[in-house]
Structure formats: structure tokens, C-alpha cells
């Protein structure tokens, strides 16, 4: 790969794609490149970064709407929202430590990978659900818009959703409009010491099945020394008005006391803990010869998946989303990858090879195989969006 294009505006992106198409010279699309070590290595002639497309273009707090160019760093957006007491609903993770980078993620990167933090388990949905509108440049070197700046828009096929999570393979996001929400006044976390992961998921299910509006439900298999949590610990987060938390937290406590020793972490400690969960920090430092996988299964299947991975390669683990999101780190070997694929398949779930050395990423399926009829549709969709195959070729699947 020679050189990195950083167009300063959307027209520049269009031009770059046009040139790439004409030259049959594929582009490796990225924001700040924080996820270069994720999925498959891209075989591209040049890199194209959206990092120069930066800045918030519209913010209407009273309408709960914010638009920003794709290359805008997430912390910049969060700071602007915080000034008006608002927040990003999807609680986007900061994986710089996990991925061994220093730059912050961009809005385009978070949406392009559809990454959602712990709040995913709450009613509000995934990051892609908060995307009200996008502008993107397709492989046809054309600008398409999908959605807009209003809260509900079902006009036409939902290309927003197709582009979110397509990792730059179908189009290059240039501007994104998000729904935002007022930030809760405060938060608290109930930490319950549990005997096993299965018991931990039972605690999380009980919390999520309660009427108290749990917005985070995670399981730390090894506890958290910094906050004095030893052994497997289930975490349940409440976020709301100051006036509401005493009742909610004591009601939740009464519901869960039968499961084990219980502690309440107040606002600041709670926030620090959930930042760690959000960023998969409890997995610990990831070595150069190690890999990180992310599996999503139904919550009750989480403990069995975790056990299988432990047996297979002594996996380090973190369970979020009520037990259904299983983060795991272990040796970057084909055997470990095989174990992850098997565990996901047996749980009827999904997996992503989230970080690994190039050799492993290039030689395995980093995402689950799709059934043949769907794979055929996928190939046609890719061709429909990027006929010359110039956008992140091979990023998600070999030859696609």
C-alpha cells in the first residue's frame, strides 16, 4: 500500500473513488485506522482515510439531533454533547488499548463497524438504530443519502443500516446524523458476587427482567481488583434522575440479594467500571501473538460458550449484554479460532475475529460463513454498491 489519501471534503472522496475505479486500484478505507488489526487484512493499492472530513455540522439539542462528518473523533462529539447535558445513546467503545493504537475512534469507524457499548442491552437498540441519516460515497463514485435528520424515516430501502456495519466495503460514510439523548443525572451499579458464570447470567436475567430500567448487565469472571471485586461478579447498572436511584437500587437489591453478596458502587466508581467493560479492558493487555474474539449469543448460552473457550485455550473472558456478548482473548492460533467458530455455531450465535496478527486474519474466516443463497445475494449487493470492487476488498470475506 502506497500512501494515504485524506480528502478534505466529500467531493475529494468521490474523486478518489472515481480514480480508484478507473485504475482498478482498490482503496483501504479507514478513519483513524484504529481497527486495522481487525477482520481481514485488505489488499489495496492505497489507503483512504476520512480523518480530514471532521467537525460537527449540526447540533440541535432540543431536537436531540447531531450531525458530524465521518472523520470526527468520538471524544470531540461527546464533549460537545456533554456541554448540553446530552450523550451518544450507543455508548461507543474506545478500543485503542485493546487494539494497540493511540488515536481515538472516529464517528465513521464506530458506525461503519456498528459498535455499541453496554447500553446495547437496554431498550434503545444498537448504534445503527440511532443513525438517523448518512451520506456516503459508493463504489460508483456517487453520493447517496439515506435517512436524514428526523427521528423517523422509513422512506425507501434502508441503506443506512446496510452501510452501518459494512466496514467500508459498500460505501464510504462521509457524514452521519445521530439521535442523541439527555444524559442521566447519575448512575449506580449493583455488584453481586456469584459462584459461577451460569449463576451470574441468572442474576443478570433477573435484573433485566425487572421493571427498574437496567442499562448495563455484565459479568466479570475474575472480578475487578481496582474496585475491590474478587471472583466472578455480576454487574447491573442503573442510570436515571437523582430522585429515582434510591428506590430503584434498593428494589433491585431486594430482588437479587438471594443470589450472593451484594455491593453498590456509586456514581464515579460505577462510571469507571462501565468504561472498562465498554472498552473490554478486563481482558487485560493483549500480546502481539494473541487474538481477541467477540461472540454474540443468546445470554443463557454465554456461560457454555465461555466454558468451551476456557477448555479449548484457557481463554480470558468478559461477558456483557446480559451474558450474550462474550469477549475473549487467547493465543492467535488456528486451533483457538476453530474453537471460537465451533462455540458460536453450537450456540446458534455469531463471532468476529476482532484483533489478530495478519497471518491468522488472512488465513481464516473472520466472520461466520453465510448460507449459500445469502452469500449469493451478498455478492450481488456488493456488486450493486461497488461494481469495481475498489472499497476495502477482502476486508470481511476472502474474495468479496
Amino acid at each position: 500500500m502506497s500512501g494515504l489519501l485524506c480528502p478534505a471534503d466529500e467531493a475529494g472522496v468521490v474523486e478518489a473513488v472515481r480514480a480508484a475505479s478507473a485504475d482498478r486500484a482498490p482503496l483501504a478505507v479507514e478513519g483513524n485506522g484504529t481497527k486495522r488489526a481487525s477482520l481481514r487484512p485488505v489488499q489495496a493499492a492505497r489507503g483512504l482515510s476520512t480523518r480530514a472530513l471532521a467537525g460537527i455540522t449540526l447540533y440541535k439539542p432540543q431536537e436531540m439531533v447531531l450531525s458530524a462528518r465521518a472523520g470526527t473523533p468520538i471524544p470531540e462529539i461527546e464533549a460537545a454533547l456533554a456541554e448540553r447535558g446530552q450523550m451518544l445513546i450507543g455508548e461507543p467503545p474506545d478500543f485503542s488499548a485493546l487494539m494497540g493504537t493511540t488515536a481515538p475512534a472516529t464517528l465513521g469507524g464506530i458506525v461503519g463497524a456498528n459498535l455499541t457499548g453496554p447500553r446495547r442491552i437496554f431498550a434503545s437498540g444498537a448504534t445503527r438504530d440511532h443513525v438517523l441519516g448518512v451520506r456516503a460515497v459508493t463504489g460508483h463514485a456517487e453520493v447517496v443519502r439515506s435517512g436524514g435528520r428526523v427521528h423517523k424515516d422509513v422512506t425507501g430501502l434502508d441503506l443506512r443500516k446496510l452501510l452501518a456495519g459494512s466496514h467500508g466495503t459498500l460505501g464510504i460514510l462521509t457524514e452521519i446524523t445521530l439521535k442523541v439523548l439527555p444524559r442521566a443525572e447519575t448512575q449506580a451499579t449493583l455488584a453481586i458476587a456469584v459462584d459461577s458464570l451460569a449463576q451470574g447470567v441468572a442474576v443478570l436475567s433477573a435484573g433485566l427482567g425487572s421493571p427498574f430500567g437496567v442499562t448495563g448487565a455484565a459479568l466479570l469472571p475474575e472480578g475487578d481488583a481496582e474496585h475491590g471485586l474478587s471472583g466472578p461478579t455480576a454487574l447491573l447498572r442503573l442510570e436515571d434522575f437523582f430522585e429515582f436511584l434510591p428506590h430503584r437500587s434498593s428494589a433491585l437489591r431486594a430482588l437479587l440479594e438471594r443470589f450472593g453478596t451484594l455491593r453498590v458502587l456509586e456514581a464515579e466508581a460505577s462510571a469507571a467500571l462501565w468504561r472498562a467493560v465498554r472498552d473490554a479492558a478486563p481482558l487485560g493487555p493483549v500480546g502481539e501473538e494473541e487474538a481477541v474474539w467477540r461472540l454474540s449469543v443468546r445470554p443463557q448460552a454465554g456461560p457454555a460458550v465461555a466454558a468451551a473457550l476456557r477448555d479449548a485455550f484457557g481463554a480470558r473472558l468478559l461477558l456483557d449484554w446480559g451474558g450474550g456478548l462474550v469477549w475473549t482473548a487467547g493465543p492467535a492460533t488456528a486451533a483457538a479460532h476453530e474453537a471460537v467458530m465451533r462455540a458460536a455455531r453450537e450456540a446458534h450465535g455469531t463471532f468476529t475475529l476482532f484483533r489478530a496478527p495478519d497471518a491468522l486474519r488472512a488465513s481464516v474466516a473472520v466472520l461466520p460463513e453465510e448460507p449459500a443463497p445469502l452469500a449469493a445475494i451478498a455478492a450481488r449487493v456488493k456488486a450493486a454498491m461497488d461494481p469495481a470492487g475498489v472499497l476495502n476488498p477482502g476486508r470481511m470475506r476472502a474474495g468479496a
Binding site: M64, I121, A123, H151, K152, K161, P299, G349
Partner: protein
């Protein structure tokens, strides 16, 4: 009348043969025939919730299994026959309007709840289960399915998926897409594909997101896995009566700006208030120009806290009255009026067209004013009922379908409203879908390039444009036309 593709004479000529073939695939049983083919009985299938547009189909098929749906699609694919999927037939955009040479596939007989799991909080249901049927099935455990379109009593989950339906409570709980985990999709080739599952966020392309709201363009959904949520400790609605539409619009703005997000924030203007009160007897303020239904959730103390703050906000805008529902029955009646609102307008006008544009909430007073001016200039009354919190308008244009001139005016008025929505930064449809109704307005919101891109995605799923081909996309540029 709306233009429909020229029927394929080859298909029309083979009608008898096609009916016979469909009957072998879907023979029917205890619940009646599987295929309807006689003209008298096809007539009631000629329209849906938008009865201004009508066209009897070639045949109606009522399958009871996914395998039958797949076999019907395979047969139609091999024989180049167009298909129109239909759920409860409650679409307000004509999503289920048939084609003369098309087979309607009705999913009403697929109405079983297949699995409910409270620990993992999901339900697997067939496409023909009604929206409220899901909530009723899990209400015993205090769970519910969140999206609640006004037609939730009748509309079916398969249709909700196809339209990405919203509802009064999506301000807090999101629309259909936010609440889906998986679907069983039958492709035009008759392949059955499981998309998603019982987990969150499948890796790979977001097929689930693309299919949701695709209006039957990409395939037919026969099973749906939805998230179910534990209901809040309680909920209470408040009615605020105001002196003008503009003032009520300002109240909405002030509420959102306060940092309190009610679970629902609904607006009705004077004609709507009167029609709905006649139906629901909910004690709506008949002396008001505009009314807001504001609902909050939580235990009694939390409700009091939130309602107290909301009352303070409302009080700043010289309300005519503020009333908090004191009992569950009162709340039910308040919602019964709102949810029956469209039908209730049938009491004051023989016919209506229901618009569904969304606007930035800040534009509310401006748009309401301009809509009033249009109403005057067209000489047609309009009742306004909408989801104020998210800017999703439902102006109901009242007309007389027995008077062709009145209908033409209503259509033009509706188009003007939607153009206005786009002009102020909004869109043509917030939750009802484009259907056939707004098909020809698509170029108002999208460039030709953008429409072409959507058409290419459609072609990737349905190369022959057999699936619901006269909907969503303008007929010009629609390959189904150029047969």
C-alpha cells in the same frame, strides 16, 4: 387512480393453470380453501387500509407454513408471476394493493406463537400474529413487545417488519428495527434463510436492518424473533389542553429541551379531539384547540415527580386544562381514543387520506400553520394527530370518495404536505411506508442516483422485480414495467 404496471398478458392467459398449480401447493384444510380465485371473492382483497386505491388480484393464496410460502414463491419465480405480500391489510400507504396479474400471498393463517423465553427476553412468532397478540402472550409475566402502532390490535408483525412500524411509544423504546433479533426470510427463488437469531447484532452485513422496512421488495418474512421487555412498574398519562396548535408545538419543544423524555408525547388538534372523544369517551377537552397526551413510566412516586415537572412546563403556556389519569381505566380510555383516532375520523368524514411525513420538531409550529393555509386553499378539512415527540405527523385529509374532484384535491393536498415536510428537512414517511401512495413522490426526497442505488439493491434480491413491483419506486425506471 394510481398507475399500475401493465399486466403481463401471458400470465393473465394462464390464469386457470396458475390457480390449479397454486391449489396443489396450498390445498387448504380445516380453515378453508388455500387459494381464492373467483372474482366475487377476490373483490374484498382488492384494497387494504388505503381504500382509495383498488385492484383485484389474479389470485389470493393463504399458506399455513413457511414451506408453502417457499413453494409458492418458487412457482411464481419459475413462471414469472408477480407477487404482493399481505398481512392484516391495514397498510395506510397501499402496501398490499394487488396487481391484476399478481398473486396475493396472505399470511393471516400463520398466526402461532412458537416460542417465548423470559430469561433471554425474546419471542418467536409467525408473521401473522398481531402486534398486540405478542404483548398479550407475554403480559402474564409483565413483559411486552414495545413498538405499538395505532393499528396494533389488527396489524400483523410480518407487516410491521416490512414497514418498520413505529408507534406512540417509540420515543423511548424505538421502532420495529430496534426490537428485532431475527427473521425467517423466503427469497423470490423460494430459498428459506434465517437472518439473525436470538442474539444481538449478527456480524456481517446488517441484513436484518435492510429487510426491516423493505416493504416486501426483498422477500417474504414468515417468522419473526422479537425482543420482549419487562414492563415498567407503572405508567400514567396526562392530558394537556392548549389554546392553539402553535402553543402546543411550543410545549413539545419545551418538554424535550427539559431533559425529560416521556414514553409518549402525542398531539391532537380540535377536529381529532372531537372525533376521538365520540369514540372513546375518554374525557378529552372539547374546548381545546390542541391537546397533548403525555405519558410517563415508573412507580407512583416517580410518576408524580415527572408529572409534576411536566405540569410546571405546561403551566408556562397558559393551558386550558391539565388532567392526570387517576386510574388504569382512565389511561386505557385515553389511549383507546388515540389509537382509534384514524378510524374515529370516519365519524366526521366519509373518507380520509392519512399522511405520515416527519419533520424536525422545531418546525412544528411553522408546518402546522402552513398546513392550515393549504387546508383553506384546497377547501378540505384536515385533522392532525401525531407523534409530537419525534416529529412524525399524521394529518388526516378529509374528503368524499364519492366525489372524484374531492379525491383529486385530497391527493394534491397530501402531496403538498409531504413536499413541505421534505422542504423543511424531513421525509415523506416516518412509519407507514412509501407503498403505492407516495411512490411517485420519491424523487422529491431522493435524487435519481439515489433511487438507482436502491433499485440495484432491490435487483440483487429480486432480479426479475416480481416482489411487490409497483410499490416504493416510481414506475418510470421500474424494470417490471418494461416487460
Amino acid at each position: 387512480m394510481i398507475a399500475l404496471p401493465v399486466p403481463d398478458p401471458a400470465v393473465l392467459a394462464r390464469r386457470g393453470e396458475i390457480l390449479a398449480a397454486l391449489r396443489t401447493i396450498v390445498p387448504g384444510g380445516a380453515r378453508g380453501e388455500g387459494v381464492i380465485g373467483d372474482p366475487i371473492r377476490l373483490k374484498p382483497y382488492e384494497t387494504d387500509g388505503l381504500s382509495a386505491y383498488r385492484q383485484p388480484p389474479l389470485a389470493v393464496v393463504l399458506p399455513e407454513t413457511t414451506e408453502q410460502v417457499a413453494a409458492v414463491l418458487r412457482y411464481c419465480y419459475q413462471n414469472n408471476i408477480r407477487i404482493v405480500p399481505r398481512g392484516a391489510g391495514t397498510s395506510l400507504s397501499g402496501g398490499a394493493l394487488p396487481l391484476e396479474d399478481g398473486v396475493v400471498i396472505g399470511l393471516m393463517r400463520m398466526n402461532r406463537i412458537l416460542e417465548v423465553d423470559y430469561a433471554d427476553r425474546f419471542a418467536v412468532v409467525q408473521a401473522g400474529v398481531t402486534n398486540i397478540g405478542i404483548t398479550q402472550a407475554v403480559a402474564g409475566e409483565n413483559f411486552f413487545y414495545a413498538p405499538d402502532p395505532s393499528s396494533q390490535l389488527a396489524c400483523m408483525i410480518g407487516g410491521n417488519v416490512m414497514m418498520n412500524s413505529g408507534g406512540a411509544h417509540c420515543l423511548k423504546y424505538g421502532v420495529t428495527a430496534n426490537n428485532l433479533l431475527g427473521v425467517k426470510l423466503v427469497t423470490i427463488e423460494g430459498e428459506v434463510i434465517d437472518i439473525g437469531g436470538t442474539h444481538l447484532d449478527s456480524a456481517g452485513y446488517d441484513w436484518l436492518g435492510l429487510i426491516t422496512g423493505s416493504e416486501g421488495q426483498l422477500g417474504i418474512v414468515t417468522e419473526v424473533t422479537v425482543r420482549i421487555l419487562r414492563a415498567a412498574e407503572g405508567a400514567r398519562a396526562m392530558l394537556g389542553a392548549f389554546r392553539s396548535n402553535e402553543v402546543a408545538g411550543q410545549v413539545v419543544d419545551a418538554i424535550i429541551a427539559s431533559g425529560i423524555i416521556p414514553v409518549a408525547l402525542e398531539f391532537m388538534d380540535r377536529p381529532a379531539i372531537h372525533a376521538c372523544e365520540a369514540f372513546a369517551h375518554a374525557g378529552y377537552p372539547l374546548d381545546a384547540e390542541a391537546m397533548l397526551i403525555i405519558e410517563v413510566e415508573g412507580n407512583a412516586a416517580e410518576q408524580d415527580f415527572l408529572l409534576g415537572k411536566l405540569k410546571e412546563i405546561c403551566a408556562r403556556f397558559d393551558p386550558i386544562s391539565l388532567r392526570v389519569a387517576e386510574t388504569a381505566e382512565e389511561s386505557l380510555a385515553i389511549w383507546k381514543g388515540r389509537k382509534g383516532a384514524f378510524g374515529a375520523v370516519g365519524r366526521i368524514s366519509p373518507d380520509y387520506l392519512c399522511m405520515d411525513g416527519t419533520i424536525p420538531t422545531g418546525e412544528l409550529p411553522n408546518v402546522l400553520r402552513r398546513m392550515g393555509e393549504m387546508s383553506d386553499s384546497y377547501g378540505l378539512k384536515v385533522a392532525n394527530i401525531f407523534h409530537a415527540g419525534d416529529g412524525n405527523l399524521h394529518p388526516l385529509i378529509m374528503f368524499d370518495a364519492n366525489d372524484p374532484e374531492s379525491f383529486r384535491k385530497a391527493e394534491a393536498f397530501g402531496a403538498d404536505i409531504l413536499k413541505l415536510c421534505v422542504e423543511v428537512g424531513g421525509c415523506l414517511t416516518g412509519e407507514h411506508g412509501v407503498g403505492v401512495e407516495k411512490r411517485d413522490l420519491m424523487p422529491v426526497q431522493f435524487t435519481e442516483q439515489e433511487l438507482d442505488q436502491q433499485r440495484r439493491i432491490k435487483s440483487a434480491f429480486d432480479p426479475g422485480w416480481l416482489l411487490n413491483p409497483a410499490k416504493v419506486f416510481p414506475l418510470a425506471g421500474n424494470p417490471a414495467l418494461s416487460r
